[in-house]
Assembly symmetry: C2
Homo-oligomer: 256 residues x 2
DNA sequence: CCAAGCCATATGTATGGACATACTCATCCA
DNA sequence: TGGATGAGTATGTCCATACATATGGCTTGG
């Protein structure tokens, strides 16, 4: 592929496409085969420009692409450090909002059935993302298509003490609670975990949703995090025949 | 924010950070408020360089970021066309492989219990991603932790005719079928749909997995696509108490 | 021995310039 | 009237240069 002549690697007369792309490919091969080991510093921009007999601009273009694909990180004053022998992003699923991600219909209506304070034991702390001994507010209720419409789900929400004062706003709220609480918070929700499982529908939920005994639920447990900790954890119980969770994943371009 | 003086917008003495970032923010505001309507061409690089009294390089850096965030697309000879008033990527979940996405343990063992050809009716065609009247191969079996270990799931796979000849390789296969079929295909799997739901475990599956009557399943229906169409569709029935599906989503940087 | 300051180094930002390539539109010819 | 060609335009590639800023290591002083 590349012709090593002394310390100069020729790229001008080989292959097609822009020169920076050709240099990028050569460097990527070296990263993959361990010539530049993970954790080490690559040759400097100036050194590479000398090796490839090209301008620093061209080398920087090649390195920028390697940075974007996750092979290296670059620090002013330090150099270009290898962080992986493989590109970091292969498949992705992207969303404009968490509402879209969670396939939440925004025009719904929430009825609070019961509110209480709970002291977390070890196992509940693990579920909600708090610490044992902490006091959280537990809110249970039913989300409806609209006032007087059909019940959609039985929901148990767990709210940490710092947001407890906003719980009265849940009643009648249209849309997702996490965005309600986010609007009261100085920092945005920047991370979320969801866990999907199948389970028998709890008896209380069967009664609230008007289901026959033995009903099955698709359970969606979600923890919403900001940099200040968990904002809210909610456990949604959906009747099995009324909800399925759909995902559509694409492979990234540029990894052909 | 910006001071319009004739046709020159000053950025040198305002705010902090690199100049290209400041220009990017100004341009982003204009995109969001419709100054540059979707579908239209923005001012040229040279025009913007004139307006901001800066070099073409600096303008290009600002435009590159706008391109990466999805506001515009740039074509040589044509210009910079507005494609959205909003950034295109807000939340994402990324994976290095589909195996990671689907939380598939690779050291599992598949036993084929039954294979048959089926002619798709309308409703089955919709499920598997084929066309009514087409003949597909249906393979049912059980995936085990290891030979002689525990059963993990009952799996129904539907394979289009062009891959039917590879079905005999399913028996005893460790790992995912889609990667087996991908290795026989000229083009990669580049897209996948998954649908998660809760349902009663089918009777045959209950028997294969040694479950008591009335068992509940988490059902995972997956369609794998390449540019040449569906590669395989598989329907996995997991005992509810043995599997939950976990997701971890982060908000993109740069959209603070 | 530890902390602070200085210096060398490497990437980040930015300018000005030149040429290549892709794209569209207008004009001309069959 | 339709197709082909050429000219004008705008982004893509690449160069040389200069200065700014971040980083780490070494030296000096307390």
């Amino acid at each position: 592929m590349s012709v090593q002549d002394g310390n100069t690697t020729q790229t001008q007369d080989e292959g097609t496409g822009p020169r920076y792309a050709r240099i990028q490919k050569i460097l990527e091969s070296r990263l993959r085969d361990g010539t530049y080991p993970v954790g080490s510093l690559m040759p400097t921009e100036i050194e590479l420009a000398g090796e490839f007999d090209t301008s620093r601009f061209t080398v920087r273009e090649a390195l920028r692409h390697l940075t974007e694909t996750g092979f290296v990180e670059r620090r002013q004053g330090l150099g270009t450090r290898v962080i992986s022998t493989e590109p970091q992003m292969r498949y992705s699923q992207t969303f404009d909002s968490l509402q879209e991600l969670f396939q939440v219909a925004v025009e719904t209506y929430y009825v609070v059935m019961h509110t209480e304070e709970v002291v977390l034991d070890k196992s509940l702390a693990e579920v909600v993302g708090g610490k044992a001994g902490e006091t959280w507010t537990r809110v249970e209720g039913v989300r409806w298509t609209e006032p007087g419409g059909r019940p959609l789900a039985f929901i148990e929400s767990y709210v940490p003490a710092r947001f407890a004062k906003y719980v009265p706003e849940f009643q009648g709220h249209q849309g997702a609670f996490f965005s309600l609480l986010e609007s009261h918070s100085a920092v945005p929700i920047d991370e979320c975990e969801q866990e999907i499982s199948a389970a028998p529908m709890p008896e209380k939920a069967q009664r609230y949703l008007g289901l026959a005994p033995g009903a099955i639920a698709l359970q969606l447990l979600r923890r919403y995090h900001s940099s200040e900790g968990v904002v809210i954890t909610s456990c949604n119980w959906h009747p099995a025949e009324q909800l399925s969770y759909k995902m559509h994943i694409k492979r990234n371009r540029g990894q052909a």
